[in-house]
Subunit: 366 residues, 3 copies
Amino acid sequence: FHLFRATPTGMWLVDELHDLFGISEKLNGASGQAIYDAINAKLGTPEFGPRRMFERFNVEALTTTDPATSTLAEHKAIRESGWGGRILPTFRPDAVVNIDMDGWRQEIDRLSQVSGVTVRDYPSFIQALEQRRAFFKAMGATATDHAALTAHTQILNGREAATIFQRALAGKTTGDDARRFTGHLLVEMARMSSEDGLVMQLHIGSYRNHNPEIYRRFGRDMGADIPVAAEFTRSLKPLLDRFGNAPNLTLILFNLDETTYGRELAPLAGHYPALRLGPPWWFFDSLNGIRHFFDKVMETAGIYNTVGFNDDTRAFPSIPTRHELWRRAACDWVAGLVVQGIVDEEDASAMAHALAYGLAKKAYRL
Amino acid sequence: FHLFRATPTGMWLVDELHDLFGISEKLNGASGQAIYDAINAKLGTPEFGPRRMFERFNVEALTTTDPATSTLAEHKAIRESGWGGRILPTFRPDAVVNIDMDGWRQEIDRLSQVSGVTVRDYPSFIQALEQRRAFFKAMGATATDHAALTAHTQILNGREAATIFQRALAGKTTGDDARRFTGHLLVEMARMSSEDGLVMQLHIGSYRNHNPEIYRRFGRDMGADIPVAAEFTRSLKPLLDRFGNAPNLTLILFNLDETTYGRELAPLAGHYPALRLGPPWWFFDSLNGIRHFFDKVMETAGIYNTVGFNDDTRAFPSIPTRHELWRRAACDWVAGLVVQGIVDEEDASAMAHALAYGLAKKAYRL
Amino acid sequence: FHLFRATPTGMWLVDELHDLFGISEKLNGASGQAIYDAINAKLGTPEFGPRRMFERFNVEALTTTDPATSTLAEHKAIRESGWGGRILPTFRPDAVVNIDMDGWRQEIDRLSQVSGVTVRDYPSFIQALEQRRAFFKAMGATATDHAALTAHTQILNGREAATIFQRALAGKTTGDDARRFTGHLLVEMARMSSEDGLVMQLHIGSYRNHNPEIYRRFGRDMGADIPVAAEFTRSLKPLLDRFGNAPNLTLILFNLDETTYGRELAPLAGHYPALRLGPPWWFFDSLNGIRHFFDKVMETAGIYNTVGFNDDTRAFPSIPTRHELWRRAACDWVAGLVVQGIVDEEDASAMAHALAYGLAKKAYRL
């Protein structure tokens, strides 16, 4: 456990052990087994069932991310169970949008199946996506989520888009096809969001499956993803030219390159009505990561162009801890402004509430 | 007004209202109209006339930036008015140098007119520019100012420069012409500065008119400019190879990419005798922007390769506030060095004075 | 001396004067000559002989960097002198690896000479390098050191490598040959290190001999080197694909672009077992440079993927000062963690010792 000293994982674990499981003994080789046993025992009690934890954590809304081809069966089951917890799906179409992903062709078949629209060309593909979005929205979704290596966007004319899509269907994509098609689809998704009102989230800059040995042995998305430098000013321009001023669009940006915070993201979010900045993500969802975010973003963007906090943890019991870390760092930052005479206590109080609660609720239309 | 919480605009406004207009009531929806009326009334009194403010602000020298084609009529008028305030022009030839700017051809005609040199080819263009520089210098200018998207410089031979210029005159620029010509002209401007002693300023990295809707409705330079990443080590090399060690040249660099501060700018300014670093500009002319500058630049460059503070505000009453912000941040930084035992109080006092006054006066040859 | 205010050079000098030479008078124009004389006199005494200083500094091991063609005669002489100080060579093959360096052809001849392997093609070149590594290792070396402008790596097949090498021998390298060959050799060096256990160091991102006037007058490596932006995620992938998980390899990365700390280096070092991060280098071996390193690297990498401190000073008396600066900055950082409740005092104490001593000793297999 000494390897986790001063890391966010270390902080989260200590906090979870203490606040959630009531364990204040220090975790190390000697205490490990006993602590494991204690946690295991607690997890077996009703008090630590998922729904009970959800209620104890005082969660207002929790969202999953689901492929475009999902039937959202679990969401249906929860609804029909009569339980009152608010669990919402999020539309994440990466597997059908990125034509160079393993298994794309099969995903397209599945898309035809679940949407009832036989995807045989570009127009039917778009139609199927629109069908899925409507279905997700009916199931309570308020947002979509998109991942791409870069923020590249571009607008293909109908013929170009159709040709690339046909090549992909035939398994004959060439050269730059995937990058161009993804860039085009992001603009299409912004168009759909400006129409159906689903909040669009964009996660940029993760080089997926960097370690081939891990990929061979364990498959996709096993933690071997490494950030790359990002660019937004030029890359997002085609999308922003069309939809940057669209009144019904909210586009929330996430990325893994802190140098873009002050240089590109804050000026863009300060300028374009449709843009908002998501909180630090992944490696940067940490104490220093949050501090850098406040330091580099807020002066130029203002807090009201950010969306408070959310995270994409896979560890359910870490939810309170992660939000707690954000709230403490946010209040620490606001308190610093008060001490320096930059805002008064009245404003500080409003800002703290917005950062902890109001901004997220408003941005995600919850 | 809550949108400005913790932003520089918020800080400036509060400070101006208090120090300049004597208003300490908090600005918000309720108080807005009354405060507006109070300011308006004051602005109508002689005490708030521009010359009276200039004197109250204790401004030693104020400079405008003027196109190469300007007759500097207002500067003549001020001189002839007998008023003692020192208002100086600055030579800014972007509109005649950047062959891809809207209206470039007309600017060239205007250049012929005001310079008395008929610009019909590259040599006469250079001759006209030299005439204008001499004129600006005679009118009191001590500096020039140049804006470019990147810091790209290169040296074209006479034939290449002439050919590109002819293409531009004929309205037939191709491919990379504009970028190459601007890069070449920057080296030419450095040559002229090394001869006539005008301090050369270079502002890099602003993607102009990013929002096409704003451009369509309101035109150029309406606030829709977004930073891009910058590069200096390779880009400036052609210019520095020729003039980096030139004894009579001062070249002051400004840019909008903080990552270049410690990586490129401070090492370059520490090395080349002709180079100096300008203070944080635009989005970064802010409390945190200034702090980052001190944090990343000063160890490597030393403060004596920087030029103190200046800003390009369009809001006359904001001048004292902006300088005050710089001075406070500078003194805060120097005080921190004293507390940590890095400099003693004697040195600190000299550094504070240099940062607030001496460096700017010396760098701009005022 | 006022030009050094708040720079690392200023801090080092004051500290050396005080701690090493017992001089507490302030250095300036008036005191300079007397201080110079005092130092000079002390340097003439036995107490200030190099071996005596080595012992007084309590140095456990000091390493030199030596070209692949070195006979390590001085190292032999030290060994044979019977003195107990541990001075070790480090294998630095840049001059025979970078086929575009001035004098490369002569270096290859020298390599044939000292290795006893006549280098006439690519396989004999590799064989000669392996001979030299074995010799260095026998002479006590535990590490190699490599410098490159970028972190580009790639794997050439045998035929490609052989062809490029033949072109280089014939003085006919073309286009991208040098960059590709260096990228390939870095992977080869990782292979050799994974076999012979020499720790591999990689220094990236210095644009050498930037000022042609300095180069003309004084030659290579005279301080006119300027950093450039670096990239690792994509560039190191070919090397890491092969050796990132190799159990016997330690690859230590140094670079001059702080933006890669949190974005690329820390995630890579956190992921790949073979990777470690070297301390801040060159311009960044400074108080703020060290602080940025702790701030950006440690949360994600954890301190146990870093290697403590080393520096490449050419000024022997500066060694204690530079290590002292690192230790103070490290302890300042750890103390901050304690104050914030992130680690407890027991962990802090272990971390401080590791950062000051244990990590370096372990990483370099000393």
